[in-house]
Symmetry: C2
Subunit: 123 residues, 2 copies
Amino acid sequence: MNQIASEKVELAEKFSLIDKYWSPKIVGELNGQYVKLAKFKGEFVWHQHDNEDELFLVVKGVLKIKLSDRELTLREGDFAVIPRGVQHLPIADEEVQVLMFEPKSTINTGEVTNELTTDCEWI
Amino acid sequence: MNQIASEKVELAEKFSLIDKYWSPKIVGELNGQYVKLAKFKGEFVWHQHDNEDELFLVVKGVLKIKLSDRELTLREGDFAVIPRGVQHLPIADEEVQVLMFEPKSTINTGEVTNELTTDCEWI
């Protein structure tokens, strides 16, 4: 039997359930990967994921991602893949809604553990 | 060195390059998975993927996915995961723009081979 149901997921409805910044929630699972949604506001923490590539797709707002040598500016309908081992710093001057796609093993703060480190729950 | 560049991808720009229905194009790669974009119009073919779960996220338009026992209607900002082994039939009454996540091994027509079967190229 399949563990994954073929059900419709409405991003807008799921985002309305998120009331905390920098705390990704799981909304889908496939092929050992999670689909996560998060709201960001402010500046996160420099980190990297040693074993996971990470995709950020902006659903609403503007997300800046600082890299060691430059900065990406993602607007609604833009995405970027941050490869494993690449240091990055997400920044949102205003609230941004982001869809992420990453392996189930991914920890939000990568190799860093601090007060922003959080477990991921389904919503 | 990382094979995957940290570059911004604009969905709208990529969709403007697609001039054929039912022919997914690759726009991103991470963790052994591809991010693909496709335009659908009309009715596809009943098929299943024996070893791959498949995600459909509607970027523009309406996508219906017939399953054996029911039908999903996905509007802009909705997604669904079709688990491996589940027969499905995508239908688009009008043109729809769809983002897909799936393993690199995925063939668009699953276990079926016909005139709709196509290799995937990067755009």
